[in-house]
């Protein structure tokens, strides 16, 4: 039995209108994000048997987002952020099957596992504790998205300066909380955020690269 089952039992017997967002109940859709005993987690993937026996289980809505009702929060901020990212810009002609090398695919595959549960956004202290950063800072989910595009072999759009200037990458101080709560086990910090930070540093703070950059343009890998 998972925590979502317990909430469904409460709906069926005690509070029919208890608001909880869910759809697949299989850890694939990322709808039922909440905080269980203070820890961001999916309601459908947290077994009651894994929680301390004999103690009250506390279920709260995600704290980083405004509550709509009960456990349901307004996550529209994330959809606005998604719309602000420059879209995938493939070099190959549309409709033509592009050819990718396995090693390129392997590098970004884990980023594509993201189920957009927004638990990483919820736990990130930059978003959670700083109201004024909500619009300016993209947050871990979107650093993953930027990294997946930046490392996509066909993508031509400028991502590194976007990460620094528009997405607020520099405000992340690598506490790894996002990686800890990711239900997909994506290496958000090590594989997405740090490599992006390194690319920013290479471009803007490496004197030799800067000099060489004068003689090239476009995207660098």
């Amino acid at each position: 039995m998972v925590v979502l089952d317990a909430l469904h039992a409460i709906q069926a017997t005690q509070a029919a209108d208890l608001a909880v967002r869910w759809n697949c109940k299989a850890g694939r859709c990322g709808s039922c994000s909440a905080e269980i005993n203070g820890r961001p987690a999916l309601l459908c993937m947290t077994r009651l048997s894994a929680l301390p026996a004999g103690e009250t289980v506390t279920v709260a809505p995600m704290q980083a987002f405004p509550v709509i009702r009960d456990l349901v929060t307004d996550v529209s901020l994330n959809y606005r952020k998604a719309a602000q990212l420059p879209p995938f810009e493939p070099g190959a002609a549309p409709g033509q099957a592009p050819r990718l090398y396995q090693e390129d695919v392997d590098r970004i595959r884990e980023f594509h596992n993201c189920i957009e549960c927004f638990l990483c956004q919820d736990v990130c202290h930059v978003l959670r504790d700083h109201e004024d950063m909500r619009e300016a800072y993209a947050g871990p989910r979107f650093f993953v998205r930027i990294a997946s595009l930046e490392m996509h072999p066909l993508d031509r759009a400028e991502r590194v300066d976007f990460a620094r200037d528009q997405a607020g990458l520099g405000h992340c101080n690598v506490t790894r909380c996002c990686t800890e709560v990711c239900p997909e086990g994506i290496g958000i910090t090590d594989n997405a955020i740090i490599p992006l930070k390194e690319r920013v540093a290479d471009r803007h703070h490496d004197p030799l690269a800067r000099l060489l950059g004068l003689f090239s343009n476009g995207k660098r890998r």
Partner: protein, 349 residues
């Protein structure tokens, strides 16, 4: 009415079929809107683990365009199946979601469509509820594409997503559409070329149209989008639905909230999932009609379920009437794995 929204093509549902339909309708020049019960990217498509069969040129084109939209798909040499691990559905949905975003197509998330609006036999819009506020929305559209997925919650299927309450099946039947004439597959009958239901202005694609799997969802979704957009150009008059009719629908939808002391909709759902005879369905009609939902309009799952029960009842009645071969395997209460096996065998049996 919280909002009245105009569009040429309204797509109901945001899984693979719905989003592919929306992309095509928009590309064909139609002002397109999508309404879906969940958040964008959460549709039942995420549960599709298997690959995309590319047995036809058209299916192969659908896969190639997904890749050009950023999907990572793999194919074994000489294989006609594209996949990504056991997450093909998620990969497809995410690529479509990003393409919808790139094209600036309007998406109304957590907006449940409960009625189609007809004028002189043509579908001219839809009536829905925005879940977060509980407010009513009137879509004035020239065409509607149903891409609502399956109806797995009509029986006890733990593997079925919450959204799969057969809304599209019920909406189509309400409008006068027919069911597919196949014993083994349950869904709305459409012309396979145009995805047209036979009711002017009404199209259906994917699982709701007796489809099966990702390949069909993409192919039928594109066709539905194209033909609905073409149809919408031939419909010049914007139909005005009588205000009285809209308020009558509003009163019907509010009834479970205003009814005091009725039965808990969750209890009715359990009984409905166990029903096997038309006699049981007859009794359930009264129970569904008398279910009541406590609480406010805003994000009220009891209210939503009370309204979904109407669709589930329509679907269950048709299933029992048709006595389809897979109904016999519909388990009363079984493990998710067993129900899933039964549900998937409907497509092969």
């Amino acid at each position: 009415m919280e909002a009245t929204l105009d569009c040429d093509v309204l797509v109901v549902g945001a899984g693979a079929a719905g989003l592919r339909a929306a992309i095509e309708a928009s590309a064909a020049g139609a002002r397109t809107a999508v309404a879906c019960k969940s958040l964008l990217g959460k549709a039942g498509t995420v549960l599709e683990r298997g690959g995309i069969a590319c047995a036809s040129k058209e299916a192969a084109e659908r896969v190639a365009e997904l890749e050009s939209w950023g999907a990572l798909l793999e194919r074994a040499p000489q294989s006609l199946v594209a996949h990504r691990d056991d997450r093909t559905g998620q990969e497809v949905l995410r690529a479509l979601q990003h393409e919808v975003l790139r094209r600036g197509i309007e998406v109304h998330m957590e907006c449940a469509i409960h009625r189609l609006l007809l004028d002189a036999g043509r579908v001219v819009g839809a009536f829905g509820i925005r879940r977060p506020s509980g407010g009513f929305v009137h879509f004035r559209s020239r065409a509607v594409i149903l891409a609502t997925g399956g109806c797995g919650r009509a029986w006890r299927d733990d593997a079925s997503p919450a959204d799969a309450t057969g809304d599209g099946h019920a909406l189509a039947l309400d409008a006068g559409a027919r069911l597919a004439n196949k014993d083994s597959i349950f869904g709305v009958r459409v012309d396979p070329e145009s995805a047209a239901s036979g009711i002017p202005g009404l199209y259906a694609a994917g699982d709701v149209a007796a489809g099966d799997g990702l390949s069909d969802a993409l192919v039928s979704g594109r066709r539905a989008g194209l033909h609905a957009a073409r149809y919408s150009r031939t419909e010049h008059g914007r139909n005005l639905i009588d205000v009285g009719r809209l308020s009558a629908i509003g009163r019907q939808l509010l009834a479970p909230l205003e009814r005091k002391g009725g039965e808990n909709p969750y209890a009715v759902l359990v009984a409905l999932q166990d029903a096997r005879t038309l006699e049981e369905i007859r009794i359930l009609k009264t129970r569904v009609a008398n279910a009541s939902a406590p609480g406010p309009r805003a994000y009220n799952p009891a209210w939503q379920l009370a309204l979904e029960l109407r669709a589930l009842l329509v679907v269950s009645e048709k299933l029992i009437e048709r006595n389809t071969s897979w109904l016999a395997r519909k388990p009363r209460s079984a493990s998710g794995a067993a129900t899933r096996a039964a549900a998937s065998s409907k497509n092969t049996g």
